[in-house]
Every structure is written in C-alpha cells, then in structure tokens.
C-alpha cells in the first residue's frame, strides 16, 4: 500500500509488459501549431518504424506544458499512430471541425471542458458493475492495482478463507460459478468496493483533481467514504462485514419476497404508464433505462405491456428488491449498523442518489439519508442534472464496467460534458486507462502523466523535470479556486494542496482497507454440510448406482461443489435422434435424416439434479427452481463436451434441506466455438431427506370446455419429437384455462447405446413428454400464429415422489397461466397411477416463434409443405410454378437456420453450409435461394407427376451462375425442370417449368411509384434471365414487388 503522501515513494518495479497501447498527448500553441506537431510526429514514426512507442509517449508527456491546443491519441503501433495523426491533421485543417471524438482513440476539443477542480467529479458504481476478471489486466501494469488484489489474497490467507480475488479473477473454467457468486449480496458489494479502490488508487497517482463525488446504489458507500462523511472506520468496518453476512444469510434462508427486477429500455414515465400491482421504478438511471421492481406476476404484466409497445426489457438475474419498500425486511441489521456511526461533515461535496441533491452537512441527516438509500428509489438521472447545474462537466467513473458513463451520456445528451469510464469490459484495462487519459488531457485536465511511464521507460526519470508534470488538486467544494502548478506563487501552494489531497485519498483508502479487511477476514464461505446430512458417509450405505449423465468428475469438493464432464455424442446419446429441431423423416433417399439434434432442456435439468445428488448423497431432489435457459446445446457431427457445475449455496440442518446452484454448458460447438464462459442453462436444485406430501391439485375449471378435436397423431405430426418422447396416449378435454390428457411411461432402454438401464433422478424424457400436452392446448386454438414454442425458463418443478414406474398411466393437466405476443406461460400437473400428484411445473415460459405456420409446418412432413408461397399469377407456363418468400426473421437465427438446413438439404449441401467461408448474410442468401429453387422445382414436379418430393431429396448446384436441380438417390422418370432464382429487398422468388429456358425477376415498386414501369422492367429482366428470344412472359404484383417469369416453351 502507499507509504507517504507529500513525497510519494517510487512505485515498486512495474512489469515490463502489459501495455498493449500507449497514449500520446500533443500540445501546440494553437490549432495550427498542433496540426504541425501531429504531422511531424507522424513523419517521425514513419521514418523510424521500429521506434519504441512508450519512449515517444513518455517524451511527449515530459514536454507537455499547460494550456495550448491539445490532442490525445491512443495507439498500439507506429503505423496506426501515423495513420491516425495524418487523419487528425486533415480534420484540424478544417475550421468547421470543433472536436474529434473517435472511439478508435483520437480526441481533440476546440472548447475544452475543464475549467476548475469543481468541474470534475468522480462517480462510483455499485452492484451490477462487477464482472469476473475486472481489472485483472491492470494488475500487470499498475503496481497499486496488483497490491489491492494481492491484499485480498493476504487477508483471506490469514483468515484461512478462500480469497475474494478467486471470485473476482477466476480461472476460465470457474467463470460461471464466479458470476453466480458475484451476484450475491456480499461479494457483489465488496467486489465493487475492491475494484473501486484499485481504480481510485490509479486516479490518485495520476493526481486527478476531484471536486465532487457521488455513487450509484451501493457505490454511495464508496462516495461517502471518499468524501470523508463516513470516517468511523473502527466502528463501521467490522460491523459492515457482519451485517453483510447477516443479510446474505437472510437472503439464502428466507429467499425474500417473490419479486422480479426488470430493466427497461425507457425512462420512468414509460413504466409508470403501465405499472400496476405494486410495480415501482426502483432506479431511474437515464431517459433510456430504468429498473422496475415488483411482485413477479405484476412485473410480468408490466413486461408484457412494455414489450407490446416495442420496448426492450430484460429481467435481471437477482431478486433483491433494492431501493423499494420491499427491501425493508433486510434493513433491520443495516439500520443497527449505522446507528452508532459518527458521521462527519464531508470535506468534498458528495451527492445523494436518493434526493438527487447534495448531501446535507448535518451528520445525522447524512446518516439517515445514507441508510434509507436502500429503501428509496435511485434518482441517478436527477442527481446528474443537479451536478451539471452545479458546474460539473467532466464525470470520471471510478470503478468497473462503465455503466454510469453510459447513463450520464444519455442524461446529458446534446449538452457540453464528458462521461469517461476508467474501465470497460470490452477494452483491455491499460487501453481504457489510456483512452481516459487522452480525453482528460484533451480537455486540459492537469495530470501526472509520469505515472504511466514510471519504472518502465528508462528515460522518464532523467528526462522529465518535476515541473513538467501538471498538478492541480482540490478537496474542497466545486467553487474553490484552482491551484495550478507552475503559477507565479505555485510551488508552496501546490505542495500544500497536494498533501491535503493525498491525505484525503489515503484516508479513504484506509477506511476501505478497514472495511475490506473485516469483510474478507470474517467472510463465511459456502456452509459445509453438517456430518449428519451426509448419509453417504455412512460406511454401511451401499455404493450408489452410477447416474446416467455423470461422466468424468473434474473437481469434487464433497458437500461443497462438483464439476463433471461428458461427451455429447449422437452415436451414444440415442435420445438425441428423437429430439431434432426442424422435424423428422425428411428424406426418402435417407429415411434416417432428421433435423438438428439438440439436448432436451429436461436433460440439462437431469444433469444438474444428478450433480446436486452427488453433493448431498442420500437425499432426494424435491424441486428444481429458477430455471433459466440461455441457448441451445446442439449435437455436432463430432462429439462435443458437456460440462456441469454445481455448488452448495444453502443448508438447513433443522429441515434437512440443501440447495445447490448448478449450470450446464458445452465447451464449444459449430455455432459457438468457445462456449466455456456461456452457460446454456442454470437452476437451483433443492434436496431433502424425503419427498414432501403431495398438495391438493390446482383448481381445474375449464371455461368453454369441450372434448379435444386434435388427436395424439395430430400432435405428433406437429412436434419434432421421435418415439422415445411420445408418451401421450389421449387428449381428453380442453378449455380456455387448460387441457387434460393421459400418458404412459415408456421404457428407458433405448436412451443410450451403451447403457440399457440408466439410473435417473427426475426421468428427463417423462418430464419432457408431459409438457407435450401444452403443445396440444396450442393446437386446439383457432389462431396458430406464433404457435411455435420453445422453452426459455421455468419458475419451479416440484416432485412429490420418485418417477412413476415404466408402464404407469398418468393423468396430466396443463394450465394456461398467461399468454402474450412473444411469450406463453404454462403450468402442469402429473398424477401418478395412484391418483396422487407426482409432479407440478409452475410458470414455464415459452418463447413464441412467428414462422408462417399456415403455409409450412416447420416441424411437419417436408414433402407436403412449402416454406414459400405460390404466385400463380406470375407463372408464364402451365407446367411452371413460381414461388415467393420473405424469409421469416426467426428462421434467419443461426440455430434455427441450421435446423432448416438439416431438414431441407442433401449431405453435399449441408457440407457446403457447414463449411461456409463467406459472411453470415451471404449464407442466409445462399440458403434461402437454394430452398426457393427446390420449392419451385418440387411444386412443378408434383403438378406434372403427382409425386411429392422432399427438399432434401433435391441436389442443387451452381452451373454457369444458375441453380440446377438433380434428384438425389438415382434418376427419376425425367430430369427436374430448369429453375431460375431472383432476390431483391430481402425477398426471394424462384420459377421452374418444363421448358427449355426459364427466367425470373423481382423488381421493387417504389412508394408512389409506377407499377406499370416496374412490371415492364421486371418482364425485361426475366426475359434477359432466360436468355432472350421468343418467350412467354407474365408479371404479378405481390406486396411491394413485381415478380415476372419467362418461359421458352410450354408443354402441358
């Protein structure tokens, strides 16, 4: 940690590497001089391409004098720097250019914003800013950052605890677990405080002149510490840590109210217009983001209303109702904590995110406001407005991620200001510091640039006179006078002010250290399972049967955590061939060709349940809750690796229950090369000594009740599941609120090639099959729009007994909980053969996909259906068929597009698809072009021969720039007809006819344009496409395009 204040010691030897870019600050006496210097530097680095950039940057910093006209540039190579400088010189030559703010790293401001220390404020982020790996790459370049995190290690080692650093800077394989840990109350707040401390130490060493401070949510603690308002570290430190521990335990044990936090891409007014049922705006961050909080069902209604207005909404991955009255249950210990803290009058102005105004000077008033911030809405937008009105123009975000800077940008858009993050997740730490410095310098903020080079640039110490480093400091209110280094009476005042400033900062760091020390020393790790809960530890207990999805155990800390892996291999995982996205039986040439196999969501749940069972052997899984699905887990032609991670998060010895948070991912697949950091599914698994008694069934009164019109066969045709998953036996009755049917539990002997008797925890195939009844409810609805449903998450699956035995017939009831334009939410109950409730699913969310269901049964028989629609009016030949398609946006998503390819393409075409070397947009064009060609050809063929052809049984290839179709699997009675394909405005048309030559064209009709002209143009193009000559031509208007076809000969 830093040692002295007035005479800072030389920092420890910094590492030799880690700076991926340098910052170049140029100064000219005026703009013309600056331009000349930029060009001169460009010449220099071009003449000396091997020049050491750090030496160049340090030399510029050494020569930097106050004032003038300034330019900041960030670059990692001589060539790039020269290019940027020359471009900048061109801009500077333009008198209309008032500023340059290029994200690539060039900054110039004709009207710099820094006027006095009061014009620069620090903003401290709170919970939500943390991310695994934050600032890790600054450890190698700033010794003070490394020291801060190393100190975490040291404290933890002394306390015999795992280090918080292991969570903040996890190994790649631990990243998801770290993310989960970082969402918890204690680690999230203290993690950000550590990062804030590391950043502020860098800013301190840069001698940033701070005139005011403020914090967002938990960041207000850092702001109060920095302002000197909370100086009672001896009281606060240890007790804050205790309090956080207590609150964490409260949260883990009680769970808190069932609330949801919803981030909305709009301001407060948009939410308040539709808010009902206790939903309130907890954070008003900026005009385009606020956070709504309320009971989950009410938030769901608000979310639906906002989505219907086209607004962006996202549920946040934690459930603490911060900044609302609902947080009151957590507040007791927090109020106790602050009661004895002697608050002080802040030495630096600090703003309150509760009132949007400056904190009062009265210590008791400061305390009340600070404590009640947790149950008061965050008024960040209002606070920024106040700070701006008070003269703040430069907002430096002293913490990780950069969220607050984006909020400030949105609040003050259109006015002169700058919001500058010290760290963002998308740039390397050193590079973002360079961007920060470049902008500050360009705004004429005086800085100690030498800190960037000390210890690594040999010439720095010798070359730089002390006066060359600008110093301007402030610890007083914004209206205090600036003190400039190099001024007439500067030196003594500067030294005094610097000492004062550094003393303030050091005190802040001391308080931070106290708090962190207490937290890290006393922080409880995940509770170890009490011995009495570890039934498996009894030597008399027979070894458990190997569970079917458990593979190689990578790590196992019994009672705490486990990580295991297994291959995802179509050859072994036979169930995958019965769970194929896109459909089944899509080729006569190869009856085994199916859609894209994807891991059923229920197998992810089974894998997590198995992991939890290994952590709490002898217990049974009674519930899986808070299930969230993030992405598909596809089976690739070659095996991929499935990884399951699980950790115990709560133990209740009295009740005998254990909670395990788990997630599932693959470590890469065709669509996502490196998926190690991206869980596909996560959930909390609850275990107990025995299953709970079944509760009463849910009410099941059906409005407009009627017998189901659809049959089980109808349902099977409309789902992508094969025989293994087809357990439903009857569809009985249906009404507005739900549907009832029966299923029969099927054998498990064909799930795996090498395991005919798999041991399961929840029976994933049965759980999946039961949900098919919900599909039947949708099939019964008159409007099929948006009836392609894929699951996205579920609130809870509760089990009241072991899976029913094979052969059991079970009544199943599906409940329709909620339906919106984009989502459907259902519940489900399955009753065992004894009539008692065995399993209840609550609030299963499904995403609705809008594919043209009426024209193409996406999952149904592919020889009878067409993705495209016929345009008979545009057909120039009796034997011809013209088809048209505007590809549905959902089908352009990579996984659904790949599923489409699996069910419509031959093996050779799939090889071309999978090995595509062009852009993603080109692949979409290629895919839909070929699909349209097939649709036109098979439609023409069916009309002439009465034979339905699968798209996957037509081989297409490009010959002389045209698509040619040939039969797959041997010749037919005659060749397929020639086909022509055209595309425009994202739409595709194809025309095939039994003629010598065919052509097609697609011409947009401009708004208010002449349709006749478009028809003439289309006709001309279609004739040209067919090669000219004597042709029959027809045109037809469809929506905003004209489609024309041409054929040389008609052969009815």
């Amino acid at each position: 940690m830093p040692t002295t204040l007035t005479d800072p010691a030389a920092p420890p030897a910094p590492p030799a590497s880690g700076w991926d870019t340098e910052v170049f600050v140029l100064r000219g006496d005026d703009r013309a001089d600056l331009r000349g210097r930029a060009l001169a530097l460009a010449d220099r680095v071009e003449r000396q391409p091997g020049v050491t950039l750090s030496e160049v940057a340090a030399g510029l910093a050494a020569d930097l004098a106050p004032g003038g006209s300034r330019l900041g540039a960030v670059s990692g190579s001589a060539a790039d720097l020269a290019k940027k400088l020359r471009r900048t010189a061109d801009r500077l030559a333009d008198p209309n250019c008032k500023q340059i703010r290029d994200a690539a790293g060039v900054y110039f401001f004709d009207q710099p914003l820094y006027a006095a220390p009061g014009s620069l404020a620090l903003l401290f982020p709170g919970e939500g800013a943390q991310y695994p790996g934050m600032l890790a790459d600054l450890c190698g370049v700033f010794p003070e950052v490394e020291e801060t995190f190393a100190w975490c290690d040291q404290l933890a080692a002394e306390a015999g605890r795992p280090s918080l650093r292991a969570v903040l800077h996890p190994a790649p394989e631990d990243r998801a677990a770290a993310e989960a840990e970082l969402r918890k109350l204690g680690p999230s707040i203290f993690g950000v405080l550590v990062a804030d401390q590391a950043v502020i130490r860098v800013l301190w060493n840069l001698h940033l002149p701070v005139g005011a401070v403020a914090g967002h949510s938990a960041g207000e603690i850092a702001a109060l510490l920095a302002s000197g308002a909370m100086g009672a570290e001896k009281v606060l430190g240890p007790r804050l840590a205790d309090t956080m521990d207590l609150m964490q335990r409260q949260e883990e044990q009680a769970g808190g109210p069932d609330v949801t936090l919803l981030a909305v891409g709009a301001g407060r007014a948009a939410v308040e217009e539709v808010a009902a049922g206790g939903v309130v705006v907890a954070m008003d961050n900026c005009p385009h983001q606020c956070v709504a909080v309320g009971p989950t069902p009410a938030v769901a209604a608000v979310e639906a209303a906002l989505l219907a207005r086209g607004l962006v909404c996202e549920r946040l991955p934690f459930r603490r109702p911060y900044h609302t009255p609902l947080f009151e249950p957590w507040m007791g210990p927090f109020r106790d904590l602050f009661a004895p803290v002697p608050f002080e009058r802040p030495h630096t102005p600090v703003y309150s995110c509760s009132t949007g105004a400056r904190f009062p000077d009265d210590p008791d008033a400061v305390r009340d406001l600070a404590v009640n911030h947790w149950v008061s809405p965050v008024e960040f937008a209002r606070m920024i407005e106040t700070m701006y009105a008070d003269g703040v123009r430069l907002f430096v975000e002293a913490g990780p991620r950069g969220n607050l800077s984006a909020f400030v940008e949105d609040v003050l858009r259109g006015r002169p200001f700058a919001a500058l993050p010290a760290n963002v997740a998308r740039k390397s730490g050193p590079t973002q510091i360079n961007h920060l410095v470049a902008q500050l310098a360009a705004h004429h903020v005086p800085l100690n640039l030498g800190h960037l080079y000390a210890g690594r640039v040999a010439s720095w110490t010798a070359a730089v006179p002390a006066a060359a480093t600008e110093i301007e400091v402030a610890s007083g209110p914004p209206q205090s006078d600036p003190i400039r280094a190099g001024g007439a009476a500067g030196t003594a005042a500067v030294q005094a002010a610097l000492a004062d400033h550094l003393a303030v900062m050091e005190r802040f760091l001391d308080v931070q250290r106290e708090v962190m020390t207490a937290f890290l020393s006393g922080r409880a790790g995940p509770a170890e399972l009490p011995p009495e809960l570890l039934a498996f530890s009894d030597f008399d207990c027979p070894p458990p049967e190997p569970l079917c999805l458990v593979g190689d155990v990578v790590r196992h800390d019994p009672g705490r955590e486990i990580v295991f892996r297994r291959p995802l291999d179509e050859r072994e995982d036979l169930y995958a061939d019965d769970h194929t996205l896109g459909g089944r039986g899509v080729s006569r040439a190869d009856p085994g060709q199916n859609g894209l196999p994807v891991l059923p969501m229920t197998f992810s749940l089974e894998a997590m349940a198995e992991a939890a069972t290994l952590l709490a052997p002898g217990k049974v899984v009674t519930a899986v809750r808070d299930v969230r699905l993030y992405r598909w887990l596809p089976f690739d032609p070659d095996p991929t690796t499935l990884e399951v991670r699980a950790a115990v998060t709560a133990v209740d010895p009295a009740a005998g229950t254990v909670e395990v948070r788990a997630n599932v991912r693959d470590l890469g697949n065709t669509f996502l090369k490196d998926a190690a950091d991206k869980p596909a599914c996560e959930a909390v698994v609850v275990l107990a000594d025995r299953y709970p008694d079944p509760p009463d069934p849910l009410p099941f009164r059906l409005t407009d009740e009627a017998p189901c019109r659809s049959t089980v066969e109808d349902l099977r045709r409309n789902m992508f599941h094969g025989p293994l998953f087809q357990m439903l036996r009857t569809l009985d009755r249906v009404g507005r609120e739900g549907i009832q049917g029966t299923l029969e539990v099927q054998p498990r002997d064909r799930w795996f090639r090498s395991n005919p008797d798999p041991a399961v925890v929840i029976d994933p195939v049965l759980v999946d099959a039961a949900m098919h009844l919900l599909g039947a409810w949708h099939l019964e609805q008159p409007d099929w729009t948006g009836r392609i449903l894929l699951p996205i998450g579920m609130k809870a699956l509760e089990f009241f007994g072991p899976p029913p035995p094979v052969g059991s017939r079970c009544v199943v009831r599906g409940h329709n909980e909620e339906e919106t334009a984009r989502q459907a939410r259902h519940g489900l109950e399955v009753f065992g053969p004894d009539g008692r409730l065995w399993y209840r699913l609550t609030s299963a969310g499904y995403w609705r996909f809008y594919l043209p269901f009426g024209h193409v049964n996406f999952f149904g028989p592919k020889d009878e259906y067409y993705l495209s629609r016929r345009l008979a009016d545009a057909e120039a030949a009796v034997t011809g068929r013209c088809h048209f398609l505007e590809p549905p946006v959902d089908l352009t998503q990579p996984v659904l597009r790949a599923a489409g390819a699996r069910v419509t393409m031959t093996p050779a075409e799939q090889a071309a698809f999978n090995g595509w070397a062009g852009t993603d947009a080109e692949l979409t064009d290629w895919f839909f072009g070929r699909m349209l060609a097939k649709d036109a050809v098979r439609a023409a063929w069916a009309a002439r021969h009465g034979e339905a052809v699968f798209p996957a049984d037509i081989e297409t290839e490009a010959v002389n720039g045209r698509v040619v179709c040939r039969p797959r699997g041997g010749p037919k009675a005659e060749p397929f007809p020639p086909v022509a394909v055209a595309a425009a405005k994202g739409k595709v048309a194809a025309f095939a006819a039994f003629a010598d030559r065919v052509g097609v064209a697609l011409v947009p009709v401009p708004k208010g344009g002449d349709e006749a002209e478009a028809r003439a143009a289309a006709a001309e193009l279609a004739v040209a496409d067919a090669g000219g000559g004597k042709l029959r031509v027809r045109t037809a208007r469809h929506k905003d395009v004209v489609v024309a076809t041409a054929a040389s000969e008609v052969d009815p």
């Binding site: 290019k83 471009r87 500023q99 340059i100 703010r101 290029d102 994200a103 690539a104 060039v106 891409g265 709009a266 900026c286 385009h288 983001q289 989505l307 086209g310 607004l311 962006v312 909404c313 996202e314 950069g402 969220n403 800077s405 984006a406 909020f407 940008e409 949105d410 858009r413 998308r426 993030y630 992405r631 669509f671 996502l672 998926a675 991206k678 996205i792 984009r822 995403w847 505007e886 946006v889 959902d890 352009t892 998503q893 990579p894 996984v895 852009t919 993603d920 947009a921 979409t924 405005k985 994202g986 947009p1004």
Partner: protein, 89 residues
C-alpha cells in the same frame, strides 16, 4: 431498400443521434457497434428509437436485441443491423 441505401440512412441517423462522435475511418458490414463504434447498449436503444423516427414506423428492435442475446452474441455488426432493417423497412 438496397443495403447501400440502408448504410447511408444508418450513417445519417447515427450522425444526428450522436453528433459528438466520429465514425472510424473504415466502416463496413463487419464494423461492430460496441467494440468499434464505442457505443453502449443504452445507445443502441437510442439508435433504435431514432431509426423508428427516421423511417416513420415501429421496428421490432426489442425482439431483435433479445434474439442477439439468446444466441450469445456479445456485439452487433453493422451488417446484421442492415439485414434487420432490410427485413423491416
């Protein structure tokens, strides 16, 4: 509407929405909105709003962004944005 026209529209809208930003020297379909243009996610929402005003119609930006998230995308290319606009403008 042709991709070239959409790129021109996009350039116009972005310049009006974020007048104090300078685009990188080379911008194309592979230019990333976050990494290359330095935009924040909130600014993407702003951009969506401005595009709706420019074209005078609602655009399904919410589902589009949700789709990006659901497939694990960590950035958005201008090419993807233009493809989205081609679908809906």
């Amino acid at each position: 509407m042709s991709p070239d026209q959409l790129y021109r529209d996009l350039s116009t809208v972005m310049a009006a929405a974020f007048p104090d930003r300078d685009p990188p020297e080379a911008v194309g379909p592979d230019t990333r909105v976050f990494a290359d243009l330095g935009m924040a996610s909130i600014e993407l929402v702003v951009l969506g709003e401005r595009l709706e005003q420019f074209y005078g119609r609602k655009l399904p930006f919410g589902p589009f962004l949700a789709g990006l998230r659901s497939r694990g995308a960590d950035d958005l290319s201008l090419g993807e944005l233009v493809a989205f606009l081609q679908q809906h403008v």
